[in-house]
Symmetry: C2
Subunit: 396 residues, 2 copies
Amino acid sequence: MTALAASWLPLSAGERAVAIEVLVHGPLSRTDLARRLGLSAGSLTRLTKPLIESGLLVETAEGAALPETRQGRPSQPLDIVAESRTFLGFKITDDMVYGVVTTLRSDIVARHDRPLTSHEPERVADLLAEMAGELAGRHPSLAGIGIGVGGLVEHQAVVGESPFLLWRDVPLAGLVEERTGLPVVVENDVAALVEAETWFGAGRGLDRFVVLTIGAGLGYGLVLGGTRVRSGEEDRGFGRHWIIDPNGPLTPTGERGSAVAMLTVPAIRYQVQAATGREVTYEEILAQAAAGDPMCARVVGEAGRALGTLVAQIANFVMPQKILLAGEGVGLMEVAGRAVDDAVRANRHPLAAPVPLETKVSDFHDWARGAAVLVIQVLVLGAADSSTQSDQLHGP
Amino acid sequence: MTALAASWLPLSAGERAVAIEVLVHGPLSRTDLARRLGLSAGSLTRLTKPLIESGLLVETAEGAALPETRQGRPSQPLDIVAESRTFLGFKITDDMVYGVVTTLRSDIVARHDRPLTSHEPERVADLLAEMAGELAGRHPSLAGIGIGVGGLVEHQAVVGESPFLLWRDVPLAGLVEERTGLPVVVENDVAALVEAETWFGAGRGLDRFVVLTIGAGLGYGLVLGGTRVRSGEEDRGFGRHWIIDPNGPLTPTGERGSAVAMLTVPAIRYQVQAATGREVTYEEILAQAAAGDPMCARVVGEAGRALGTLVAQIANFVMPQKILLAGEGVGLMEVAGRAVDDAVRANRHPLAAPVPLETKVSDFHDWARGAAVLVIQVLVLGAADSSTQSDQLHGP
DNA sequence: CCGAATATTTTCGCAACGAAAGTAAGTGGC
DNA sequence: GCCACTTACTTTCGTTGCGAAAATATTCGG
C-alpha cells in the first residue's frame, strides 16, 4: 500500500531514536540526549556521528546563547536540518484542495490551493498530482505526500468511506503514487491533526492527550502513551449520540440535544436561523452574543455549557494531561469561556486537578500540515501502518 | 518506602520478561514465547535455562494433551511453579480485615478474616502483623504482603487520606514491615482490584481496559497500554459530580442525579426507603423489582439507565477493548440488563462496535486478592513505584 | 526404517552498550 | 597569566545479549 517498507534513511534503532528526539524536542546537546534516551555519553558520540556526517543533524551555532552562564565546557547543541527535506500535505474538502509544503519540522514554507471540481477518484488524483508537480518544481527535495480526508481511511492508503466525497474503498494512495512516484500516506483528517499536535504541537511530549475539534462536525482524537489510539469509530461522526440535554435543540444533524446539535458551527447557525428567520454567519452570531443579543447569547451560552460538559467528562474518564480544542468553531471559547468553565467545574470533582485546556484556531492549512506530519512520521520513523491491528494483544 | 529496590529474584530484563509472560499467560512453549516476545528460538533456550534451574519454571507434563495432533517434535510447555512462593493480601474495611493467601498466580489458597476493633494505626498494624503471623505458620514461603485500603494512597506505602478510617498520612507499609520483616505494598483498593484483573483476570493481555466498581461508592480504573493510569482523582469519590439526570434523585451522597446518587447500593436503598419508609436490603429491592413492584422497578430501572449511560460514555471517550463491572452492586445487571443495554445503545453511534461488557460479582476476598497481586508485581517485576511521577513526560 | 515436520540446543559472530580513562573548553581565583 | 575546577565530549575496551544457521531431538506417516 504505502509502498515503502523501510524508511528513506537507513537508520539503526538507536540512530532513529536520536533523530526523532531532536526532531520533536528541538536542539539538544549530546548530554541532554543521553539523559532523555537513557544512554551513556559514549553511545551518543557513536550515534550522532553518522547522523551529522549524513547531513541530517548539525551542530548549531554555539553562540546561540545559553542564558545560564554555567561553568565547564559549554554543551554543543545538535539540531535537525529541517530544510534538508520537504514534504507535501493536502486536505481535501468538498470543493477545495488545500496544499502545503513543510520542512521536516512541519513548518509550512508554502501554500497552494485549488478548487475541486470533480469528485471522481481519478480526477482528484490527477489534481493532487498536478499540484504536487507545481510545488515540487520549487522544492526539489520532496520526500513524500500526506493527504487528509474526512471519513474512514484504511491502511493509511484506502478511503473506505467518505460521506462528502461519496467514496467507498478508493485506493487514493496508490492512485497518487502512480502519478507522482512519491510515497503517499492517506489518513483521516482528524487523525492527521492529532498526530501533528502530538509530535509538534500542544501535545508534544505528553503521555495522555485529547484533541477535540469543533467545526462542521465534532472530532475526537485520543493519544495514550504518546501514540494515537486508532479506532474507526471517531471517524464516523463523533458526538451525534452524546446527549447533553434531552430537551435541547433539534437540528438537522445529531440527536436532539446531542453534542453535535448544540455545539457545531452549522447547528448553531441553524438554531439562530430557525428562531430569527435570517441567515447569519457563525462570526456574526458570536459577535451578537458578545454584544448582548439575548437570542444569540442563549444559543452560544448553551453551546458553551455543552462544551464544558464534554470537556469535563473527557477529563473524568480519560484523565488527559491536556485537552486541545481546535477547528473553526473554537471562537466559541472567547465568547462563552465563562460558561465553559462553569460547566467543567460542575461536572468535575471539586478536588480534581483543573483541566489543562488549550485553544487553537486552525484553518484548512493546519489540517493539510497534519497530513504532512503523517508522511514525516512514516518516513522518519519507518512506522509500519497498524490501523488494522490496533486492538491487538500486548505483552505486559 | 517499600523497602526493596530490587526484585527478590535477580533476573535480567530478558529473563523477567519471560517470567512475566509465563506467569500471566499460562503454560507456554519456548517457541510460543519466542513469538510473543519477538525473540529468536536460541534466545529462549538461553533465557529459560536459568529460570528452570532456579526452580521458578518447570517443564510441564507433556502428556497434558495438545488437542491438535500436529506433526513434528512436540513442544514442551513451560509453566511457573505457582506454589513456590505465597503472598498475603488484606482488604481493610470499616469493621473487618479480610485476608487471603495466594500463590504466584494469585490463586487463593487460604482465607482468614478478623474484626477490626480499633482504627488506631498502630493497632491496625498490630492486627495485620498478627494475622500475617497466623498465616505464615501454615505457609512458610511467604514473600510479601499487599494491603488494599479505600482512599488515597501515596508511594504504595502511605495512606494519605482515608475517609472511613479517618487517617491522614499514615505510613502503614512501614508499620507492618517493622512488625513482620516482610516487604509490604499498600494501595488504593480499586487500584489493586484493577491490577489483579489486568494481570490475571478479565483484562489479561488487553491494551485498553476499564474497571467500574459499584458498591458503597463508584470506582473507576483505567488501564492503557497494559498499565494502570495512576491518578489521585479516582480515589476521591468518582462519579459524585457526573450528573446523569439533572432532575434525578437527591441522596445523602453525590449531587442530585449524579451517578453516585442513582447507582450505588446505599443510594438505591435510600431512595426506596424514602419512598416507602421501610428499611430494605439491596437484594430485596432487586428481587422486588424483578417481581414487578413498580416503585422498586422504577428505581432499579433508572439505575440501569444511569449505568448504561456511564458505560456508553466510557466507551465513547476511552474506546476500551473491555469494560469490567465489579463490586457488590453488579446484581443490578441481572435485573436491569435490558435498561442498561438500551441506554448504552442510545448513547453510542449506531455503527460503533458493541461494548464488550463483563460482569463479575466480587466479595471482599477478591479485593484482598487484588492487594496480593500488587506485591507479586512489585516482587516479580521489581516494579519501582511511580505513583508520583505518573504525569511525566515521555519519549515518542 | 526413512523422510518430513516441528521444537529445541549449540555455536559463532556481531551490534550496541557502559565504564572508565582521556581530552576539550570553558569559569573563576590568585 | 597560570592553575584548579567543572562540565562536555571522545576513545578504548570488555561484556552482554542477540540472531543466523547448523546441529540435534522427537514425533508422524508411510
